[in-house]
Assembly symmetry: D2
Homo-oligomer: 141 residues x 4
């Protein structure tokens, strides 16, 4: 069972992380250590070549990893990204981007996981993101 | 000497990469393989803890690396990021973010470089980004 | 079906990549895009704290990713790593390390995949590696 | 001034990290946050194409980053790599590899830096490595 609800993820994203919140990310499912979300297509997410811009995919991956961490530890807002690596595998066509996030480790101080991004019309991933989050000590949450 | 001007970098960013362009990045200098830029502070770039959000810093790093590639090869819009790694070193206080980008390699097919981000009020870097760009063959530019 | 056999993987590793070959990696299975291997424990792979040293795990991950590429394209010796990211998740106890490699992309020029490492006595991964390989053009293989 | 001597770095590497120690790394200089070292050429470090194998360069980068951390905090053996990213920029010719390591951050819990590798006969870097080390709390050193 997840330590946070879809409603809380949605609210935290919109209210607390406006730069990503304004992208319009929709969380679709959450369970312990797993989150799926959708980035609805918008023209202003394109870059030359008619493909979705990398920073939009990195923003999506970062927030989905944040959500996967919160799905384990609950609404600890001060968890912060310490590193993120994105590999862009195929140019997504204009269309929604689907993100599947999965925690691979959640220790006392560090969490690590991967987020795989798909273009809604294709089977093969368009981007693969791995990321580390730093978790604040219990008395500072 | 740079293969692209500050004016062209500015125009390409605003017109062709609107997701990053709307962040308001200002290019401050360009020479062959080196670019500096500034991300003016805005409240909507904050995240919980009162610090600038990671995706904004990654968007800044990505566009500055793009600019550093164009400073060498000229306005080749179809150069695309193949990978980006961001390490967040210190939480920037609210304030402008300064980016210094430097090409470490620019081959026929791949370019690689680093972008170091500073908070305007501090000496130590807040984020270090490395990134690889894929360069299209000459006949497809 | 794999484009290379376990016997060929073993021979290429021992004869052509002696630095990794001398580690004693044993391939256990190969199919199209998937490779599993085992690094038998040896005292000289330890580091302070009694744990397997990071470079041994990176060497294992690198060769397993190479094997996963060859499982798709056949024995193309000149495929080379262009980047590798390793995240060390838990300190492995002294014991064999098991590697599971999986291709996520294999294009004309670049292949990308992930290798997850386990300590033989534990369920949770000890290391997660992602890596990009550059594939030579057909006429240069 | 460095918090560790060249002699101590050499001894720790040979005695405590034999997998890397047997590569024959020679430390050339150490100051606070900066370390240079040399990997003398040996035939068994080659891979197909006559170039130095990636895992040897990653082993060199990892130990030089470890040395850079110890140059700041002293001989704390239990500092461990939490992540390492290597980008291979040019294929080094057979010959010594020179490493220049530099700390970019050294906090209470995490250190981060970069190591640039050169082939002794060439000006341009052959490999660029960034790495994060986890530092044990003072009472566990």
């Amino acid at each position: 069972m997840a330590a946070i609800t879809l409603e809380d993820l949605d609210r935290i994203t919109r209210e607390e992380v406006p730069f990503v919140g304004q992208m319009g990310v929709v969380y679709e499912s959450v369970s312990d250590g797993f989150v799926t979300a959708r980035l609805p297509f918008r023209d202003d997410l394109l870059r030359p070549g008619g493909t979705v811009t990398g920073p939009a995919m990195m923003g999506l991956g970062d927030i989905v990893m944040y959500a996967a961490v919160l799905s384990r530890i609950g609404p600890v807002k001060l968890a912060v990204t310490t590193s993120l690596t994105a590999n862009f595998l195929r140019r997504p066509k204009p269309g929604d981007i689907i993100a599947e996030g999965k925690l691979l480790k959640c220790g006392q101080r560090l969490a690590y996981g991967e987020v795989t991004l798909f273009s809604e019309s294709e089977d093969d991933p368009v981007c693969h993101i791995t990321s580390t989050y730093s978790i604040p000590p219990r008395d500072q949450r």
